[in-house]
Point group: C2
Chain length 107, copies 2
């Protein structure tokens, strides 16, 4: 893949995650969601820091203890390690393409 929008599925059973770069302490990945959301009651609780941006589509993000945020094209957020969060929805009509940078000592 040389273009992040290449081969984006219009619909898939599961979220599609592809590593664009992986190094000690750093992973850059593309995530494609097509209507996916975190299961009811599920929270991400990650050992790594994450910086993530939505490039296409739309998503709802709930950080524990904060108001739900709606992320559209270009919106980014920093999620410190162990900051619990969940995806409340992603657009049903079009793929949502995320670019996520995970970093820390444990990648």
């Amino acid at each position: 893949m040389q273009n992040i929008f290449e081969g984006v599925p219009q619909r898939a059973a599961e979220e599609q995650i592809d590593d664009l770069l992986a190094r000690p302490g750093l992973r850059i990945e593309r995530i494609v969601s097509t209507g996916h959301a975190s299961p009811e009651g599920f929270w991400y609780d990650q050992p790594l820091d994450e910086w993530v941006i939505v490039l296409r589509g739309m998503a709802g993000l709930q950080v524990e203890g904060e108001a739900e945020q709606i992320l559209g094209s270009g919106d980014f957020i920093f999620l410190p390690s162990r900051k619990r969060h969940r995806v409340t929805f992603t657009a049903a009509e079009e793929p949502t393409v995320w670019l996520a940078v995970h970093f820390g000592n444990d990648v």
Copy 2:
């Protein structure tokens, strides 16, 4: 800034570079070019690895010893440290927005 397209200048004398995140060993930055290019004969010769993607606009990238590449929206490239490269042009009609991830031991 919460959106990478927020406050993008239509035209500026210099390229505009903003840190979106800076940590030991990692820097994520937004670069906005409005028709800028590397000066004649200038080559970037960076101590850090760089992963970079064009989000809007268009640019020409010359990596030393390789053919010039044209990068448009979504195109990304990995530039290892000390791999000399230069920007041959950026779009004149619209801003070119880059997202660059610099990493290494020396950020």
